[in-house]
């Protein structure tokens, strides 16, 4: 018994490795990568991520023995006054679940990236940047692991901004490309600054927690929540809502979601890993982690649920009007994150984590398959018209006209299923899982959220059902536009299936997207029992047959409608208008233009700030303030006009005279001894 315990505890103390292995990967590739070549670099990075996964699995196995988990401290970080913070890792079922998802999906995407980036760096004409990509990817894994394994709010914040940095670096990976050469760089900056606005909220929440709880350690804070909720409900309300601001940044919810669609400027594996499967779920994780706080203030829960539900609906509408294959998936991600956030607001944390996990599988699958399609299109482009250069990480939006060699525009595709059969099948699986078709993973997880909404708030339930309908519809539209019909461009005509390095990870993810529902299968509830050791679960999940059948019916109807619109009579040519454009009229244009939210922010926030900064910098600073002090200077000079002869015009003389004056005072005082 004792021996077993010792083994278990020593397993728990492995947890820092989930961070240190990726860091080791960074160091190795940094120091030796140049000599190793692409295979070596990719292997080191993948092994580092894979090593993290292995450690996570070991931790999970140890947790099966000891559900309590452990806190593994490293060393003191900041200790001043009453603030006492250390680097402490937390092993419990929630953190390990996140570790498994993050490191598992990361490893697959690392492997995929070896093949993908091999093509991409050549396509972009910068083969040497291969190494940098994998260093950034490993850095991301390390930061994300810090985030999910932190035992206090501030260490979580380190990971939180750390993943933001990686996002910045990887969105701007081709920093000299994009619209006007600066498109990608601008998208990266937008992501970071938007997230900083959210981080402002999280920081305020942390300050509030510290001064009202006296600590930032999770366990101690959560313990005190009931008493604080009694004495200062307002404070708890403020904490949870400020934290929500942070969540809307990181997890791309209204009002801060605007950075995520632009983030698609990054290479496709980045979109899959960071901007779909893992990083963007950090906000959901944070709220699940702090569920005790949210549960103590129902008002905040309401706000959270509504933010999530409205985001799910709003982003679903925008997705419907997009033509860029990745943009559709990006808005879909925002919408699905909305489902998860809503779940937290409804008190269904397990459902949120369940959907987070299945979404990680099928959305990573969809993005990577989209990447495979784009690679195929690029091949086709090169085969079709020789070396007509294009740039598939182009972050520009295609609102009006259409770029005829844009390998991401779905209007240029069509009929890809015959050219890329493996990609087609896995894409279809991903799409069905996302649409919520049984028995694929998304069906079960989305159903749990709908059940929670049905029991909690009928209005939210209705909104989410509509959002689910939209999900199935836009995925139907996408699959039909991309894979069915006839090729609408040379690129699509000559598209070519991708290599095994690319397709094998896709197959694994497809398998997970099929089987993922088993994680919390109705009646078995493995995930729920697993998370029960960490989370409070107020009511056990139920499987309500009418809701399940109903949501399935909604999804099927949506897909059928999509078939009627896009499948029966496919787009005739790349120039043809979307069949919905006419019947929906101006509303379709709004969806296509993302309801002009970017333009609104530009007009209300960015533009005025720029003007204000200029106003401060020139009229105020150089004019008024500097003018005043210079004026005071010249006033002094003119006062000295009485001693005009001394006014030599040499500044040194003035300075000297002041100095002499001071010495004179000192001498005078000295002689008074």
């Amino acid at each position: 018994m004792l021996f077993q315990e010792a083994v278990m505890n020593s397993t728990f103390s492995l947890v820092p490795l989930v961070v240190f292995l990726p860091i080791l990967g960074i160091l190795l590739n940094w120091l030796f990568g140049k000599r190793l070549g692409e295979k070596g670099i990719g292997s080191i990075a993948s092994l580092a991520a894979g090593g993290s996964f292995v450690v996570s699995v070991l931790l999970a196995l140890a947790l099966l023995q000891n559900h309590e988990g452990a806190h593994i401290p490293l060393f003191t970080w900041i200790s001043v006054g009453n603030l006492d913070l250390s680097w402490v890792f937390r092993v419990d079922t929630l953190s390990v679940t996140m570790m498994l998802v993050v490191s598992g999906v990361s490893t697959l995407i690392h492997v995929y990236s070896i093949g993908y980036m091999h093509e991409d760096v050549r396509h972009q004409g910068e083969p040497k940047r291969f190494r940098r990509f994998f260093i950034f990817m490993n850095l991301f894994v390390a930061a994300m692991m810090i985030l999910v394994s932190a035992d206090n709010f501030l260490m979580l914040f380190v990971g939180w901004e750390g993943v933001g940095l990686c996002s910045y670096l990887l969105i701007g990976f081709w920093f000299e490309k994009g619209e006007g050469g600066l498109g990608n760089a601008k998208a990266a900056k937008k992501a970071f600054i938007t997230n900083r606005i959210g981080d402002f909220g999280l920081l305020i929440a942390i300050f509030l927690i510290f001064w009202n709880f006296g600590t930032l350690n999770f366990a101690q804070v959560f313990e005190m929540v009931p008493s604080v909720a009694q004495t200062q409900p307002g404070v708890l309300m403020a904490i949870t809502l400020f934290m929500l601001l942070g969540v809307t940044g990181k997890s791309a919810q209204i009002p801060l979601y605007v950075w995520l669609p632009d983030a698609m400027a990054g290479p496709t594996p980045v979109s899959a890993l960071i901007h779909a499967a893992t990083m963007v779920t950090a906000g959901v994780y944070l709220m699940v982690r702090t569920q005790v706080m949210y549960m103590a203030v129902p008002g905040a829960q309401q706000v959270v649920a509504w933010v999530g539900a409205i985001t799910a609906l709003f982003a679903g509408l925008i997705a419907l009007g997009q033509f860029d294959i990745k943009k559709v998936l990006a808005y879909s991600t925002i919408s699905q994150l909305g489902f998860m956030v809503a779940a937290v607001g409804l008190g269904a944390e397990v459902a949120a984590i369940f959907h987070l996990t299945t979404h990680a599988f099928f959305k990573a699958l969809l993005f990577l398959s989209a990447g495979s399609v784009i690679l195929g299109m690029e091949h086709g482009l090169e085969a079709g018209s020789h070396g007509h250069g294009s740039n598939h990480t182009d972050g520009s939006n295609h609102t009006d006209g259409i770029h005829h060699d844009d390998p991401q525009d779905m209007r240029n595709m069509g009929g890809i299923r015959k050219k890329m059969p493996i990609t087609f099948i896995v894409y279809l699986i991903g799409a069905l899982a996302l649409a919520g078709i049984a028995p694929f993973a998304g069906f079960f997880s989305k159903d749990e959220i709908l059940v929670a909404a049905n029991q909690g708030n009928m209005l939210i339930f209705v909104v989410l059902v509509v959002a689910a309908f939209l999900t199935a519809f836009y995925m139907g539209r996408q699959v039909l536009m991309v894979f069915f019909g006839d090729a609408r461009s040379d690129a699509a005509k000559h598209a070519k299936e991708s290599s095994l390095l690319v397709t094998v990870p896709l197959m694994i993810l497809a398998l997970l997207s099929v089987l993922g529902g088993g994680l919390n299968f109705p009646g078995v509830h493995t995930l729920e029992y697993w998370l029960e050791h960490t989370l409070e679960i107020p009511h056990a999940t139920e499987f309500i047959v009418p809701i399940a059948l109903g949501s399935l019916a909604v999804a099927l109807v949506a897909i059928f409608l999509a078939y009627l619109v896009y499948g029966r009579k496919p787009l005739a040519s790349a120039k043809a208008a979307d069949p919905l454009a006419k019947p929906l009229g101006v509303f379709f244009r709004w969806m296509n233009q993302k309801f002009l939210v970017d333009e609104l922010y530009q007009a209300v926030v960015l533009g005025p700030y720029k003007k204000l900064a200029d106003f401060f910098a020139y009229p105020v600073d150089q004019g008024v303030i500097d003018g005043l002090v210079n004026g005071m200077g010249s006033l002094t000079v003119s006062l000295a006009g009485a001693l005009r002869k001394l006014q030599t015009g040499f500044a040194r003389t003035y300075a000297l005279s002041i100095f002499v004056g001071i010495i004179a005072i000192l001498v005078y005082l000295l002689t008074r001894i």
Binding site: T76, I78, S79, G181, L182, W211, I625
Partner: protein
């Protein structure tokens, strides 16, 4: 003291040895001069490490040296020097940055190398004296003394508008210190001593006029920090100063202002400090937001960095006037952080200026591609300045804001809440600068063939990079140096606050 000489005295005046050697070198022996200056500053740094080794954070009078000097109106003036938790990091920052700054001049300064190096070493003497002097008159002498070498460094080796900038720098500081001198003389005559510890002990003797005295000192220090709206000398001085001058100006000279508040205003006039705290905090917050906005509007990289200093020092001032351990310790650490990050930024600006002789952002773009090492290092420094967690700037900013948020003296979380907006502004102006300079395609033909950093330049940056990570991940040893002195100071001020209420 096994050397028979107080290490503080030895350290402070050791640069004079270098000056002496330099005087005898022939004008054409430029490299010998550089090596002499570098060697001297490195030995000084070594002595400061020895001081650190002897240093006990729990003692207020480490390595105290006390020598009667002369009398002024009957009041004794002493060579009174000591080091405590408030000053130890400032001393180390000075001795650490000076050799780095000297190393950065290797190619940048070709004219009158001898004069440059002599002034630089004299400047180091002055700065160390400022941080170590515990006699007010001695402090004042060192304080004014630092003006002269800096004045010449800007005025002789500066850019086009150097005379204007040098005079502005000189007159601003001078104007402020005149009031401080009067206050010092008043204090000495009133209390019969110029010794800071004695004055702190007898502060009841001048408690009646402490608000005015606080103000007299505060203006002198606020100009130096600089506190809004007394900051306009700073951008001019920075833009015109040679790189090494900017590094020391931002890295150390500005800290003299903040240090002055810690050493004199707070312990000598605690009630006045408590009363003035909200006003100082408001000025600090204006500095943070206004500095951030104005930095955003700049087109010249160096000006942008200069205004970022206004914002960063705003954080320092906010921490100091939170008047609690978190805020004060954070403020002191942030002084170090700012010295490192902004010092590094100025070095980087200097490196690119040496290559292209322009600091206009519009002249650049895509530098990360042309100079990958330069780009990578710049990225880390920019992130450090932005306060990215895991790097040094965050630790300081966070503890400051945390302290200010719960400060009893400030009495409202609004101060820190609004100041926290500064982290958004910092990201905006720094990322804008990074984008304009390093990202995007290379648009200018001249930038295509730029040489990446050479070994000397990399060596200049490495110590700073090491500290950026060290202070971000494991700042506790530094806090341990600061904390005891800060606790004492807080107690002193808090007991005063009790009297007040």
């Amino acid at each position: 003291m096994e050397f028979g000489i107080n290490p503080l005295v030895l350290m402070t005046f050791f640069p004079l040895v270098g000056v002496l050697v330099l005087v005898f070198l022939a004008p054409q022996q430029k490299n010998a001069m550089r090596w002499t200056a570098l060697g001297t500053s490195l030995v000084t740094f070594a002595i400061s490490l020895w001081v650190l080794f002897l240093f006990d954070p729990n003692k207020a009078d480490n390595l105290l040296v006390q020598i009667p000097w002369f009398r002024l109106a009957g009041v004794p003036i002493q060579i009174l020097m000591g080091v405590d938790g408030l000053s130890i990091l400032m001393v180390l920052l000075t001795t650490f940055l000076t050799p780095i700054a000297i190393l950065s001049t290797w190619k940048a300064v070709e004219e009158q190398v001898k004069g440059f190096m002599i002034f630089f070493l004299l400047l180091e003497v002055g700065m160390l004296g400022v941080f170590l002097a515990l006699d007010l008159v001695l402090f004042y002498i060192f304080w004014e003394f630092t003006l002269i070498p800096m004045y010449f460094l800007i005025g002789v080796w500066g850019g086009k508008n150097r005379i204007y900038a040098a005079v502005k720098f000189f007159l601003f500081t001078m104007a402020g210190s005149v009031l401080m001198l009067l206050a010092i003389l008043y204090l000495g005559l009133q209390a019969g001593s110029f010794s800071q510890p004695e004055l702190v002990a007898n502060r009841s003797l001048f408690a009646g006029s402490q608000l005015l005295l606080f103000l007299a000192f505060a203006i002198a220090f606020a100009i130096k920090v600089p506190v809004f709206p007394l900051h306009t000398w700073l951008p001019d001085a920075h833009v015109e100063a040679p790189t090494a001058g900017s590094v020391i100006l931002a890295g150390v000279l500005l800290k003299m202002g903040a240090y002055g508040f810690l050493r004199f205003n707070l312990p000598l006039f605690p009630q006045a400090s408590v009363q003035a705290a909200p006003v100082m905090a408001v000025l600090a917050i204006i500095g943070i937001l206004y500095g951030g906005a104005v930095a955003f509007a700049q087109k010249d990289i160096k000006k942008l960095v200069a205004y970022s200093s206004v914002a960063h020092l705003g954080f320092v001032m906010l921490g100091i006037f939170a008047l609690n351990p978190e805020g004060l310790s954070g403020g002191i650490l942030q002084m170090v952080n700012h010295g490192i990050s902004t010092g590094a930024l100025f070095l980087l600006v200097g490196m690119i200026y040496e290559r292209r002789h322009t600091r206009e952002m519009s002249e650049y773009g895509g530098l990360w591609k042309a100079m990958p090492i330069f780009g990578g290092i710049s990225l880390v420094v920019v992130l450090s300045s932005m306060g990215l967690p895991g790097l040094n700037g965050f630790v300081g900013e966070f503890t400051i804001l945390l302290g200010a948020f719960g400060s009893k003296v400030l009495g409202s979380p609004w101060f820190a809440g609004i100041a926290t907006l500064g982290v958004i502004l910092a990201a905006a102006y720094l990322l804008k600068m990074f984008e304009k300079t390093f990202l995007g395609p290379i648009t200018k033909e001249e930038n295509k063939s730029l040489k990446d950093l050479n070994l000397r330049e990399i060596i200049t940056m490495v110590p700073l990079l090491v500290l950026i990570f060290w202070l971000g991940i494991y700042p506790q040893p530094f806090f341990n140096l600061i904390n005891p002195a800060v606790e004492q100071l807080v107690q002193l001020v808090q007991s005063a606050a009790l009297v007040l209420h």
